[in-house]
Amino acid sequence: MLPMFFWAFVIGGLICVIGQIMFDVFKLTPGHTMSTLVVIGAILGGFGVYEPLIDFAGAGATIPITSFGNSLVNGALQEADQHGLVGVLTGMFEITSSGISAAVVFGFIGALLFKPKG
C-alpha cells in the first residue's frame, strides 16, 4: 500500500510539472494546456500505455486530467470490441461518466449554496 502512495505522489506531481512547463515556458492558457493533456492521455490510452501507468501509480495516473482522455478511449474501444465500429461513438462515456456528472451536479449545487468571494 505504501509504495502506491509514494508513486501516486511522484507520478501525479510529475504530470503537473509538465502542465506547469506548458504554462510558464510555452505560455499556454489553462484551456490550451488541459486540452493538450487530455489529448495526450487519449493517445497514450490508444497505445495501451496508460493502463500500466495506472497499475503502477494508482491515483497518480487516475487523478490528473490525462486519465479522462484514457477513459474515453477505453470506453470507445471496449464498446467497439463488442458492437463493431459504431461502438466508438456509443461507448465513450461508459467508463468516465462520473467526472462530468459530478462536475455538473456539484456545479449546480455550488451555485445554489455559494456566492463568489472575489
Binding site: 510558464d24 505560455k27 489553462p30 456566492k115 463568489p116 472575489g118
Partner: protein, 338 residues
C-alpha cells in the same frame, strides 16, 4: 483652445471645486486608505451582483463630489463618465439614478483623463457652467468579464495587474474665485499606439508606448520643459510599464527625473498585498488622482502636476482572435492657482 497638434490649453482655468474617491476592501488595506471618502468592506456592497456594486461605486463618488462642492445634482449641466464593463452599463445606470445629462465615455483605463480633458474644454469654452467627471472599476466584475470566474484557480504571472475596485469623481465649475484652488490648465489627447504586445497579462508593457507618445506630444505642443511640473504621474503602467515608459522618454531626449515620474498603480497598494505588478483599472487613476493627489496638492506638496492616464483598448474577443493590444493615453495638467 487648440495648441500644437493635439493639445488644448484652458486660459479660463476651470476650477476643480471638489473631488471624491470611493474604494473597496482591498483598497481599504492599501497605502492610500486615508484619502478615500468611502471605503466598503466587501465587494458586494449590499448589492446582488458585482455589476450593481460597480454602479454603486460610481454613484457614491459622484454624489460625494457634488455634496463636497456644496452643490446639488440639479446644478450640474453634464456628467462625463465611463468604466470597463461591456457597454459601460455601470456608468449609464448611475446616470439613470443621478438624472444628469450624460456623456458615456470609453477609454478603458484612460477614461478618467478623457473625461477631465473634455470637462475642462466644455467649461473653458462656455459650453457648461458645472460639470462632473468620473471613472470607475470593480475587480470582480472585470475579472469575470475579461479573464476568469473569480473563484477559478488560475495562476497570474508576475506581469499581471490587479484591477482596482474604486471610483473617482471631480466637480468642475466656471468661476472667478480661483485663488488657491485647483485648476486644469491644459490637456493632450492621445492617439492609439500599438507596438505588438498581445499578452493581456502584460498590460503595463502594452500601454507604456502610448504614455510615452502622449507625453512627448504634450511637451512638443505646449513648448514646455518637463521641469515645469513637480510630478508627472501615469495611470496604471505599474512595475513593468513605468520603467519602460521612462526609458522610451529618455531615448527621445526628454530629461525626466525618475523621482518625479510616478504611477498610480504603484501607489495604491502595500508591498505585502498580492497584486503582482501593481494596480490597474479605470478607477485606479481616478481614485488616486481625485483622492490622494488632489489632497497632496491642497496641502501644498505639489503646485503643478501632469496626469497621464493609460488605457488598453482590447476585448476578450480580440485576444481570442489573436489581435495585439492597442493602447491610448490622455494627459491633463492640474495646477494650484496662485
Amino acid at each position: 483652445m487648440l495648441k500644437g497638434k493635439q493639445s488644448w490649453v484652458f486660459p479660463n482655468r476651470p476650477v476643480i471645486v471638489s473631488s471624491a474617491a470611493v474604494g473597496g476592501p482591498f483598497e481599504a488595506r492599501g497605502r492610500l486608505a486615508n484619502d478615500f471618502d468611502i471605503l466598503h468592506d466587501d465587494l458586494w456592497m449590499g448589492q446582488d451582483s458585482y455589476e450593481k456594486a460597480h454602479k454603486l461605486l460610481l454613484e457614491e463618488a459622484i454624489e460625494t463630489a457634488i455634496q463636497k462642492g456644496n452643490a446639488t445634482k440639479e446644478d450640474v449641466n453634464f456628467m462625463l463618465a465611463g468604466d470597463l464593463v461591456n457597454q459601460i452599463t455601470p456608468s449609464s445606470f448611475a446616470a439613470r439614478t443621478l438624472g444628469i445629462p450624460y456623456f458615456g465615455l470609453f477609454g478603458a483605463c484612460s477614461t478618467s483623463m478623457e473625461g477631465l480633458a473634455l470637462a475642462s474644454f466644455l467649461i473653458n469654452n462656455q459650453g457648461a457652467k458645472t460639470v462632473v467627471t468620473a471613472a470607475s472599476s470593480h475587480n470582480a466584475a472585470i475579472e469575470k468579464q475579461f479573464r476568469y470566474p473569480t473563484e477559478y484557480g488560475s495562476q497570474k504571472p508576475p506581469t499581471a495587474q490587479w484591477t482596482v475596485t474604486g471610483a473617482g469623481a471631480a466637480l468642475l465649475t466656471d468661476t472667478d474665485e480661483k485663488a488657491g484652488k485647483l485648476v486644469t490648465t491644459s490637456a493632450t489627447i492621445g492617439k492609439v499606439v500599438d507596438l505588438g504586445i498581445s499578452d493581456p497579462f502584460n498590460m503595463g508593457a502594452a500601454m507604456a508606448p502610448a504614455a510615452a507618445d502622449t507625453i512627448i506630444a504634450h511637451f512638443q505642443d505646449l513648448q514646455l520643459d518637463p521641469a515645469y511640473y513637480d510630478l508627472i504621474i501615469t495611470g496604471d503602467l505599474a512595475k513593468i510599464g513605468s520603467p519602460i515608459a521612462l526609458e522610451l522618454l529618455q531615448k527621445e531626449g526628454l530629461q525626466i527625473d525618475s523621482e518625479k515620474f510616478k504611477d498610480c498603480g504603484l501607489m495604491v497598494y502595500q508591498e505585502d498585498q498580492k497584486v503582482q505588478a501593481g494596480g490597474s483599472g479605470a478607477g485606479c487613476s481616478a481614485a488616486v488622482l481625485y483622492g490622494h493627489l488632489f489632497n497632496e496638492m491642497r496641502n501644498g506638496k505639489y503646485q503643478r502636476i501632469l496626469l497621464v492616464a493609460t488605457g488598453a483598448l482590447l476585448s476578450p474577443l480580440s485576444f481570442q482572435q489573436k489581435e495585439s493590444i492597442p493602447c491610448i493615453a490622455h494627459a491633463v495638467s492640474i495646477e494650484v492657482h496662485p
